[in-house]
Amino acid sequence: MKKALRILGVLVVLVVLAALAFIYVPVQTTPPNEQLAADWQPETGRGEYVMRAGDCMACHTADGGSPLAGGRGIDSPLGTIWSSNITPDKETGIGNWTLDQFRAAMVDGVVNGKHLYPAMPYENYRFMSESDIRALYAYLMNDVKPVNNAVQATELAFPFNLRFGLRAWNWLALSGDSTFKPMDGDEQQIRGQYLVEGAGHCAACHSPRTTFMAQDGTRLGDANFLAGGELEGWSVPALRGPGASIEKWSTAELAAYLGTGRNVHAIANGEMALAVEHSLQYLNDKDLNAMAVFLKTMDGQAVQEAPKQVAAPGPHATPAARADEAGQATAKLLTAASPDMPLGARLYLDNCAGCHFVTGKGAPEIFPELQGNAMVLGKDPSPLVSVILNGTAIASTSRRPMHLVMQGYADRLNDDEVATLASFVRSAWGNNAAAVTPAQVSQVRSSSPQ
């Protein structure tokens, strides 16, 4: 008995010690992955470029707030996470941080011994090179206006407010070390891979999540890398595998889409439109082409040539595509304009055919295809319904400056009509996705902003 108690006591002490160690022993931070001289300087503009590639603005700038001064609330099922002030303000920002501290945030998700919530995608940023991280640090410290903005503390419900819990989470989430492992390919593919895996953090949306909400596939070689994800109930398209939209796009079309949010087939909307607006449009042609080449050759496909200049300016004229074989029947039905046509087709003619045409092919770079469109065919029809009700837009970009806007039809169509119309486009021109119910429409309508 006494022996058992003693063993128990030792175990308790060991557990307590382990717990204390878990909580209090500082995390080992990762050392730099490149040895740079102490007086190493990045090229002019490099730090800003890395900031754009990493899209720091997206989270670290609040609506109407000063750039990078934090205070944007990021919704999670666990509560709101408030982005921090990363301007070099000494009181409320990162003005007092060393390069080592900055690197620890980017690579290990640790700030002054405290763990960051993986809303900050350090799962991806950790693949970035030391020179990029250092250039980014220099940019934030020297070129960004310091702004005094005390961001409110993130307060998640217990036990998620216990940040040391993230240490355990990180053990589960961060598989492998943070070294970038270049693929077996040429310089362009490797550069593309580097951008996609690292600063681009594409996996943060385009990879699925594990039960613990970690990214299930952060790098080439992971089974589910870029296999498709979900964001607030909206499906994020797969970039690999059969049925991935980009399989049908040329490399040039993919590069154009990344840089401008628009190509012959599709127009970016929602979160991807924001990624184009704040980040991707600022990448140079070489990098956009590199990312496109990588994404198109991840699984060993042959490299396809693409023009050096991404989305070159005009003048150039591209006719709207005719209906293909799969689209013939629907195009004929719509063209006949018979007063007896089914209601879905009638609604399409009265509301959509003006831009998307009876072919369902839209017009290159300006009106997206509905035939074979990933968003139109998504398992969850909410994004499609939302676009019908509220419209959508793609921001002005440097190469394609037009701010393209589609108007919404919430005032013109009731729930029954939207459901009938959405069901029609999901089954026309050879599309094959489930019908939409009025209840689904009602749900989207009531959660839409005024």
């Binding site: 989305a311 300016p313 005009g314 003048p315 150039h316 004229a317 591209t318 006719p319 709207a320 055919a353 003006g354 831009c355 045409f357 017009a363 290159p364 770079e365 300006i366 009106f367 419209g391 837009a393 002005s396 440097s398 190469r399 394609r400 400056p401 037009m402 701010h403 393209l404 806007v405 589609m406 108007q407 013109r412």
Partner: protein
Amino acid sequence: MARIEKKKDVVIVGLGWTGAIAGIELAEEGLEIVALERGRDQNTVPEFKYPNQIDELTYGVRLKNMQHPSQQTVTIRRNDSETALPYRSMGSFLPANGVGGAGVHWNGLLWRPQPEEIQLRSYVKEKWGESIIPEGMNLMDYPVTYDELEPFFTRFDLVAGISGKAGNLNGKIQEGGNPFEGWRSQDYPMPPMPRTYDSTKFEAACKAMGYHPFPAPGGIASTAYVNPYGMQMAPCNFCGFCERFGCYQYSKSSPQTAILDALRRKPNFTYRTHAEVLRVESSPDGKTATGVTYFDAVKQEEVFQPADLVILSAYQLNNVHLLLVSGIGKPYDPATNEGVTGKNYAYQMNGGVNMFFKDANFNPFIGHGSNGICIDDFSVNQNDFGKLGFIGGAYWRSGTFNGQPIRSMILPTDTPTWGAAWKKSIKEWYGHTMSIGTHGSHMSYRANHLDLDPTYKDPHGRPLMRMTFNWQENDLKMNQYMKRKAGEVGHAMKPDMMRLGFKDVGAQYDVRPYQTTHNTGGHIMSDSPLEGVVNRYCQAWDKHNVFVMGAGNFVQNTQYNPTGMVGALAFWTIHAIRTLYLRNPRALV
């Protein structure tokens, strides 16, 4: 005491076609530029969005996209012995309001004048002698040549995005294009639009009579298009709501489709809306402008915007008005034919043949503003002026541009305008009519001029501009010639009935029906300061830092819709500013 804004390098008055061209081209020079627009900001969505824009009553009849006479208008009289009365409710011409200007609500027809039209006086002198020029006609040459302007015609074609088929590529005549046009260095950036039924009937009739039909040149996209600024257009769907309406489809060429979003990205360019320029301010010695004074309608106060360079890009009528109230150029006196500001006001001489075909189905609502097939066989450079007894010419076009029932209900002559017979007639004939339009030149005359009205004022207390204008014999004779020739083609098409609408000699200007928004002249270009307000670079003779854009520069009106020439002159002027003026600001001539 007006509020004073921070000085800018350039102030642009009016943000329509020419203001947008000036803005985007000058922004390349790194200058600090501000544009002042009297009206509101406008974008495809929401201001022109579908379905709200497809409202014939609101935009086609109540003219909500236009300048409202209550904010600015003119007084009109036919001759010096009439008292000018205000143009109170609009009819004959429809100036625009808001960002994009008339480029929002036009029909898209985008032509180049014929080379002969640009040196018309010399052309007449050479072929027939100056004695055929009637007394009172101020026939002039432009102080630029077609060849000098050709690269700028082409530049505007590419920026605007136009559909069509070249007829003359570098001197070689092209099958299917207009064989009588001036030479082009490049073909149209987009292929011609598809043809509606009515235009194919006209085309066949023209070919049978030995004429040379070609597709109408339009700032209407036949494909998806990207212009040199990266701006985009979508192919037109023939919605039939072109003129008077903003395009919901990104298909009609406008500052919105061609320039504005690219311009908004320039950090050195800003614009202010609800800012109506009242006057151009002058230095004490009168040799330069110091900037402009405008009324800020939001803050309800006057503002002085100082600037080194002033560009007047308002609509022709408003530009001339501004020059008159600012005292730039000596006001024109028709009695002595001296003075320049207000001189050589001209318009357009049009006619039409309506044909009724019981058994044909025309679907008139399927169309666009530049629809149709044209012929230039009766154009300026095809007519023997000496033999025919007039100076001028017209292009013809046949192609439906709208079937809107309030405005476009063509019924046979003598149909009662109301009652049971009217109701029967609209069912019988709607969708069974087509027409041929003749669109003719208009010369300048001493009798037609612009000045300030002695009685009526605008909301700011400035006198309204007064338009003295009537049809003149020369152009009416030209019109009667077109009536005869177009009537022949109409007959040849064997309609069940025909109805001709051509003003005859003696016709009086009627301000009620719409007759084009092609008001020209008033601040014409000239070789000498005694003849015009601006020189060949559209630079004011009086003040070297004032440049004036638009159709007010036209010495007389060509036979074509003015926009092509307006756009080309804008690029030409800005090119001169960039290459000649900026490094050494001075009078360039």
